[in-house]
C-alpha cells in the first residue's frame, strides 16, 4: 500500500482530534523508546519529480496560521515568484537539488524531522515547543515562545527558522499541518498534493514497512538505509534516497538523542532539587561558622584597639 487508505486517514484524524482534546503533553522525559504508532511522513527522493507543488501547497495552507509570507527574490522587483531559497521565516518546507553530475543528482525535501526525542522540546525553557505523545507531532506555540532561539541552536537538522525581519517574530517549522490540513483532510498538505507519491503521510510503522519494501523491491535505486529510522533517537520524518544522505543535507548522526544526554545530566544534578538544597545548607553552615569565628577574634581585637566598636555589625 503506497498511500494510506481512507480508513487510516480517519484513524489518524481521530487520533489528532483526541490529542487536541487531551491538551498539552507531559514534559517530563521518560526512558526513551521509539513509538511506531505515532504519525510522520516518508519522503522518497527517488520518486520526487521536483515539481515543488508541496512547497506551494504548504504555503497556501499554512500561510495564515503559520504567519508565513511570500519570499521575494532580489532580481524580482514585481514579486512574480515565491523565491524560497532555503527554509526560513516564510518557508516550512523546501525542495532542494543536489547535483553532482548529469547522471548523479537528487532532489530533497527539507522540513521538520519530528524527532522521537526532540532537542528543541528539551531546549525550550517555556514549553513553547511540545511533542504530542499520541501523534508524535512536534508543535510550536508562538503565544508562549520568548524568542530565545535555543531550539535553533539545539536542532541537529537546522529546522526551526526565525523571522529575523519582523518586529513580532516567531519560529517557523513544519507541524505536520496539525492545525490546518490535518484537521480538514486527515493528511498533510504536501502529502496530499504530491503527484508522484514521493511524500507519504501515515503511521511510522506503516511508513517504515513501505520504505523497506521499496528498498527491497528495487535495491539498485536506493541507499540501503532509511534515514531517520534510528538517527537522533529516531525521527518520524523518514527519508529514502539514491545518494548518500549527508550529500543531500541530512547530517550523519548517532543513534542517540542529544536530549537524552543533557536531560540525564540535568536530572542527575537537579533530581528533586536535593543537591542544590544540600549544597546551600552546607555552605550556609560553613559560612556562618566562619563568620562567628572571625567576629569573635575581631571582637577581642577591637576591644583593645577601639572602644566604640562596630555599628551594624553582628
Amino acid at each position: 500500500m503506497a498511500n494510506p487508505n481512507r480508513r487510516q486517514f480517519l484513524q489518524i484524524l481521530g487520533l489528532g482530534g483526541a490529542t487536541l482534546l487531551s491538551g498539552r503533553s507531559a514534559t517530563a522525559s521518560e526512558i526513551h523508546q521509539i513509538n511506531n504508532d505515532t504519525v510522520g511522513m516518508l519522503y522518497d527522493a527517488v520518486k520526487c519529480v521536483g515539481c515543488k507543488a508541496c512547497m506551494s501547497a504548504c504555503k497556501r495552507v499554512n500561510m495564515d496560521f503559520g504567519g508565513l509570507a511570500y519570499d521575494k527574490a532580489k532580481f524580482d522587483k514585481e514579486g512574480m515568484w515565491d523565491a524560497q531559497v532555503d527554509l526560513n521565516g516564510n518557508t516550512r518546507t523546501i525542495i532542494k537539488l543536489y547535483k553532482e553530475s548529469p547522471q548523479k543528482w537528487s532532489y530533497v525535501k527539507h522540513s521538520c524531522m519530528h524527532c522521537q526525542k526532540p532537542s528543541c522540546v528539551s531546549a525550550c525553557p517555556v514549553s513553547a515547543m511540545t511533542r504530542d505523545k499520541v501523534t508524535g507531532i512536534v508543535d510550536y506555540d508562538k503565544s508562549v515562545c520568548i524568542g530565545c532561539r535555543f531550539c535553533q541552536v539545539a536542532c541537529s537538522f537546522n529546522i526551526p527558522r526565525f523571522q529575523w525581519d519582523k518586529l513580532n517574530p516567531q519560529i517557523v517549522k513544519c507541524d505536520l499541518c496539525k492545525h490546518t490540513s490535518l484537521i480538514k483532510t486527515g493528511t498533510t498538505a504536501c502529502a496530499e498534493t504530491c503527484p508522484a507519491g514521493a511524500i507519504l503521510f501515515g503511521k511510522r510503522k506503516t511508513l517504515l514497512e513501505e520504505a523497506h519494501r521499496r528498498i527491497q523491491e528495487s535495491p539498485e535505486k536506493y541507499q540501503k538505509h532509511v534515514y531517520g529510522e534510528k538517527e537522533a533517537g529516531g525521527t518520524n520524518h523518514l527519508y529514502l534516497a539514491a545518494v548518500p544522505y549527508e550529500k543531500i543535507g541530512l547530517p550523519v548522526l548517532s543513534d542517540k538523542a542529544d536530549a537524552n544526554l543533557s536531560e540525564n545530566i540535568q536530572h542527575t544534578i537537579y533530581k528533586g532539587f536535593i543537591a542544590p538544597v544540600a549544597l546551600y545548607s552546607t555552605l550556609c553552615f560553613v559560612a556562618v561558622r566562619n563568620m562567628k569565628k572571625y567576629h569573635k577574634e575581631k571582637h577581642n581585637h577591637d576591644k583593645v584597639s577601639l572602644e566604640s566598636g562596630k555599628k551594624g555589625d553582628k
Binding site: P251, S308, D313
Partner: protein
C-alpha cells in the same frame, strides 16, 4: 559586615573617560532602540544557522563568567575561611551585579519575543529539562541577590542626615526632597539595614549556590548541539568545565579589577591580598586542564588538537593563554609583583573567555555553508553594554561606600570617622 571597612571614593564623576564611555553607551542604547523598531535581522548578522551571536556569547555566556568575581570572592572569603579579606567583597559584588544585570538586559534585547518572558513565572510553562530555563531563573534570582548584597552600602548612606557633601547625583536628589521625605527615608533605612545585615550571610551563600548551578548550566546548553559543536569542545563534561572556568575567571577578574581601579582611582594597591587570592588559580586550572585533556584522551581524540584547522588554532590559543597565566601564578615571586599578577590575570581572563567564545561561536558549525561575523551595529551594542557597566561602576563607587577603606590611611576620612 562592618561598614567601617568601606569608603566612598571621593573624586569628580565627570572625567574624560566618563564622557567617552557615555558616548559609547549612548550609541549602544540607540542601536538597541533600533533593534526594537526594525527587528533583529536589521541590526545584527544573526542567521538561522547562527541564531546566537556575540550578544549571547559575550554578554551572557562570557559576561556572566567575567562577572563571577563576586562569586569567586564569596567562596574564597566565606567558605574557604579568609574572613579578613572581606573588605574586598563589595567591589567584587558590584561588578558582579553589573555583569549580571546587563547580561539579563542583553538577553531581553536578544530575545525575539521579550514580551512573552513572563512565561518564566508561569509554573505550567516551566520546562525543567531545559538548561536554558535553569539559567534564566538562576540569573534572575542571582541578580536580585546581588542587588540585595549591595543594598547595605546604599542604605548606609541613606540613613544619614546629609547624603553627600559634594555636588553629585545624591546631592541633587537630596536637594529635591523635602525634609520630611528625607527623614522618612532615613528612618526606613535605619530600620532595614541592621535587619538586612543580620541575614545578609544567607543571601551571600545563596549567591554562591546560584552561580554554581547556572554557570554549569551554561555549559549544559551546548550539550544539545552534539552535531554542531566541534568535538574538541563537545563533551559531557561541559557543565563541569564551565563551572571551573568561571571560578578561575572570577578570581582573575578580582585581581584585574582591584589593580585597575586602584590605578584609575589613585589608591594604594592591594598586592598582598591579591597574591593570596591568586594562589588558588593554578590549582583550579590544573583541574580544568585535567578534565579537558583527560576527556579528549578518553575519547581517543587527542589528534584533533592538531588537525582541526582553525579550531585547532583557537583550542591551542585558549589553552596557551590559560596555561601561561596559571604558570606565572604558580610562583610566589610572580604573585608578589603587581605587573606579573596583572599580566597573568589578563592571560587567564582572555583564555577563559576565549574558551566560552570557542564553545558558543568559534567551534560551533551548523554546516551547510553558514557563517557568522558580527555586524558593526551588533558589535557596538556589545561595546555599549560594556561601557554602561564600567560607567555604572565608576558612578557607584563614587557615590556609595564600596571600595575598601584605606587601612594605613594618612588622610582623615570624615565619612568613616562619623561611623566609628
Amino acid at each position: 559586615m562592618p561598614h567601617s571597612e568601606y569608603r566612598r571614593h571621593k573624586a569628580p564623576i565627570i572625567t574624560p573617560s566618563f564622557l567617552i564611555l557615555l558616548l559609547l553607551s549612548l550609541i549602544g542604547l540607540a542601536l538597541i532602540a533600533l533593534r526594537f523598531f526594525k527587528g533583529l535581522g536589521y541590526v545584527s548578522n544573526l542567521s538561522d544557522g547562527y541564531p546566537w551571536g556575540i550578544w549571547i556569547t559575550y554578554d551572557v555566556a562570557t559576561g556572566t563568567a567575567i562577572a563571577c568575581g563576586g562569586y569567586a570572592m564569596a567562596i574564597f572569603i566565606y567558605i574557604c575561611n579568609n574572613m579578613h579579606y572581606h573588605h574586598m567583597i563589595r567591589s567584587a559584588v558590584l561588578t558582579s551585579m553589573f555583569g549580571y544585570c546587563l547580561a539579563g538586559f542583553s538577553v531581553m534585547v536578544d530575545l525575539g519575543r521579550p514580551w512573552n518572558a513572563y512565561n518564566f513565572f508561569v509554573p505550567s510553562k516551566w520546562q525543567a529539562n531545559s538548561a536554558m530555563f535553569e539559567v534564566a531563573l538562576c540569573v534572575m534570582i542571582y541578580s536580585t541577590v546581588l542587588i540585595i548584597e549591595i543594598l547595605p552600602s546604599v542604605l548606609f548612606i541613606l540613613e544619614r542626615d546629609r547624603w553627600s557633601d559634594t555636588r553629585g547625583i545624591l546631592y541633587s536628589i537630596q536637594k529635591m526632597l523635602s525634609r520630611q521625605q528625607k527623614d522618612a527615608i532615613s528612618k526606613y533605612a535605619k530600620m532595614i539595614r541592621p535587619k538586612l545585615d543580620r541575614i545578609l550571610i544567607f543571601f551571600v551563600v545563596l549567591g554562591i549556590t546560584l552561580p554554581t548551578m547556572h554557570q554549569s548550566s551554561l555549559g549544559s546548553l551546548m550539550l544539545l548541539s552534539s552535531s554542531k559543536l566541534h568535538p574538541l569542545w563537545y563533551t559531557g563534561f561541559l557543565p563541569l568545565l564551565f563551572l571551573v572556568n568561571c571560578i578561575f575567571i572570577g578570581f582573575s577578574i578580582v585581581v584585574l579589577e582591584s589593580i585597575i581601579s586602584c590605578y584609575a582611582f589613585k589608591r594604594p594597591y592591594e598586592t598582598k591580598e591579591l597574591s593570596v587570592v591568586s594562589a588558588v588559580i593554578p590549582w583550579l586550572t590544573i583541574i580544568w586542564f585535567g578534565v579537558i585533556f583527560g576527556d579528549l584522551a578518553w575519547r581517543g581524540q587527542l589528534g584533533l588538537i592538531f588537525n582541526s584547522g582553525t579550531n585547532s588554532f583557537f583550542f591551542v590559543l585558549q589553552n596557551m593563554l590559560v596555561a601561561t597565566g596559571s604558570c606565572m601564578l604558580f610562583f610566589k615571586r610572580n604573585r608578589g609583583s603587581l605587573r606579573r599578577l596583572f599580566l597573568a590575570a589578563m592571560c587567564l581572563v582572555a583564555g577563559g573567555a576565549l574558551y566560552r567564545f570557542n564553545v558558543y561561536l568559534i567551534g560551533f558549525d551548523p554546516g551547510n555553508g553558514w557563517s557568522y561575523f558580527p555586524s558593526l551595529s551588533e558589535f557596538m551594542v556589545t561595546v555599549g553594554l560594556i561601557s554602561i557597566e564600567i560607567l555604572g561602576y565608576q558612578l557607584l563607587v563614587k557615590t556609595f561606600p564600596i571600595l575598601p577603606r584605606l587601612h594605613h590611611d594618612g588622610h582623615p576620612d570624615d565619612e568613616i570617622r562619623s561611623v566609628i
